[in-house]
Amino acid sequence: MTEFWIIDYLVLALILGSAVLVIRIPNLPGATMALSAVGTFLSLLFVILGAPDDAHSEVVVGAIALPVLYLAAIAKVRADVLDEGELREEGEQDDEGEASDRR
């Protein structure tokens, strides 16, 4: 059972990489998408640790429902501030908060 440790540390590296990406991406939809990646790989880790029921709920909640809720919040706030044509993806230059620290 030596392979268990290899895949365990590999999936831990995946989760850590995605979780660093959540706070490093300066773009709000991109950070939400990295959060969805965290949920997907966390479900994989739950399967490997032997908890498939937690993996089910993690797939539904952590990979889909929570990012969609964040996305609805982002879209609603931006739809109130800007008009519809400005819902663009590339890191926005006319927003005040998250565009200043763009790489």
């Binding site: 999936v11 997907t40 609805a72 879209a75």
Partner: protein, 89 residues
């Protein structure tokens, strides 16, 4: 002769390595669409890794997670595409 369970574990590790190979595209996709593409591919690879891990560990109850992962990655892609097109509300 190699055991077939060890072969299944090796394939699961390799699929997870492919998912690790996709993380730089999630990190620096120029637009959100690149990140969606990389995330869908990583979800497919995670489903394959779950399937092979379940076959290697001889636990048939792990298999349903793979079906959930595949079908919900489609749902997530549709939601993201709708967000890109007209803003989700």
């Amino acid at each position: 002769m190699i055991n077939i369970d060890q072969l299944y574990f090796a394939v699961a590790i390799a699929e997870a390595c492919v998912a690790l190979l996709l993380l730089p595209r999630i990190a620096r996709g120029p637009s959100v669409s690149d990140r969606i593409v990389a995330l869908n591919t990583a979800s497919t690879q995670a489903a394959l890794a779950v399937l092979f891990y379940a076959a290697g560990a001889d636990r048939a109850i792990y298999l349903d997670v793979a079906i959930w992962l595949v079908s919900f990655s489609y749902l997530g892609a549709i939601v993201w595409a709708r967000f890109l097109e007209r803003g989700l509300i």
